[in-house]
Symmetry: C2
Subunit: 253 residues, 2 copies
């Protein structure tokens, strides 16, 4: 096969409520699923509070290290929504009321007969020069600056923005995976699985213990970017499980 293209990403989830336990994040898992599908490798996630310093530090650390950075949260109309300010500071540009976003929101509130309050105008704030990420759910756009994509924290809105954004992004060769269920725990498969991994170096083989309250079993996941290579490793894993089964039968009295 031709050598695969690797495109990497990080996510920054922003919000006190995620760290207090009040809100259980739903965006990280969704982003992970979507990026895996399109061929972007999610390499790191951070969750920080609504704290400008913490957001700036994290964004600057991540945007230099990965191809794409996705953020969630902190772009609403209230005083604790400070993501636009923090991203502007991270890039050293002014945070402005974006004229196009003001038009979009002004027209929407006029249509709905609602006041375009100062609070609502906050939702048009973004770093000067940012481009919009459309929000088909509730109009107020997310925004992109270079390789940083700033989206809402409300899952329905985050998901809609991501759907709008993803087709425009650089993607790589998708990682494919196959899962083999092992009725044996990790303690039984550990040593032979290490051999299977060594024999199949172009795949990444992970084992994920499951516990039903009494016994452990294992899901063995083979990941790679080439279907034939994955299939060969999968066959080795299946042979390994069969061999463990035979060994156990022989031991029975």
């Amino acid at each position: 096969m031709t050598s695969p293209t690797i495109v990497t990403a990080a996510m920054l989830a922003i919000g006190d409520e995620l760290l207090s336990g009040r809100t259980k994040d739903k965006n990280i898992g969704h982003l992970a699923d979507m990026l895996t599908l399109v061929g972007i490798d999610l390499r790191e996630v951070r969750i920080v509070a609504d704290d400008e310093e913490a957001i700036v530090d994290a964004v600057n650390a991540l945007r230099s290290r990965y191809n794409h950075v996705f953020t969630s949260g902190g772009i609403g109309p209230t005083h604790d929504d400070i993501t636009a300010d923090a991203i502007s500071r991270a890039f050293g540009v002014e945070c402005i009321h974006d004229p196009k976003a003001m038009d979009l929101l002004g027209a929407m509130y006029e249509r709905r007969g609602m006041d375009f309050t100062d609070a609502r105008k906050r939702m048009a704030r973004m770093p000067a020069g940012a481009t919009h990420i459309p929000n088909p759910v509730s109009t107020a756009p997310g925004f992109a600056v270079e390789n940083v994509y700033v989206m809402a924290g409300v899952p329905q809105v985050f998901q809609a923005m991501l759907d709008a954004l993803l087709p425009s992004l650089e993607t790589g060769t998708p990682i494919q995976s196959r899962t083999v269920r092992s009725p044996y725990g990790e303690g039984d498969i550990g040593a032979p699985l290490t051999e299977v991994q060594k024999k199949n170096p172009e795949t990444s083989i992970g084992s994920y213990p499951k516990f039903d309250g009494k016994n452990f079993s294992t899901d063995i996941v083979i990941r790679g970017r080439d279907a034939a290579i994955i299939a060969a490793a999968e066959a080795d894993v299946i042979s390994m499980i069969e061999a463990i089964g035979r060994l156990r039968e022989e031991k029975q009295p």
Copy 2:
């Protein structure tokens, strides 16, 4: 009141499966809930892959910055379980088969008539000098080195280890919170809520939009470390919502 004691923490969740979307993390939200209850402020969470470099970097960044660091994942018996090695490297100590853990596991497998395989012996590995975190679910202990607490990724085991660990940790003055439901969206409450926050600087007031598919409403959460101060802020929030309601009624034809 006497000045509150602030104790901070970070979490590091370790595992390729969290970043591929295969596993949806359940430990972050649980840890956040538990720490909030006992009076430890969770300030940052990171998720990294089963990658020694990434784990070492994250642990070293977090353990110097926060009072406590909790990790999940990567302490099982298979080749992709490399957390013990990474934590040892982060602290510059040797990763050994801990004698007490070897005894504990050896006895358990003997009782169960199972082989104490080399893979299972991997679960006794930890940095030299580490202390155990008991595992009442499946025996293999977690471990603590200085302010870093290394626990399993399987949620039942993570939770049991955390229950065993928490009573021994330094805690601070718990943050208490009160939630006020607002039938109005953030755009309506943004400006007056900023005033309420300014009037109550010893509280942290957050607003969390909810979307039912058609309309936005808001949960307003007041956080602080003193019940009387929180109650005063809560009264201001309730008055604010009533005032918005009156204003709306006056506007109706």
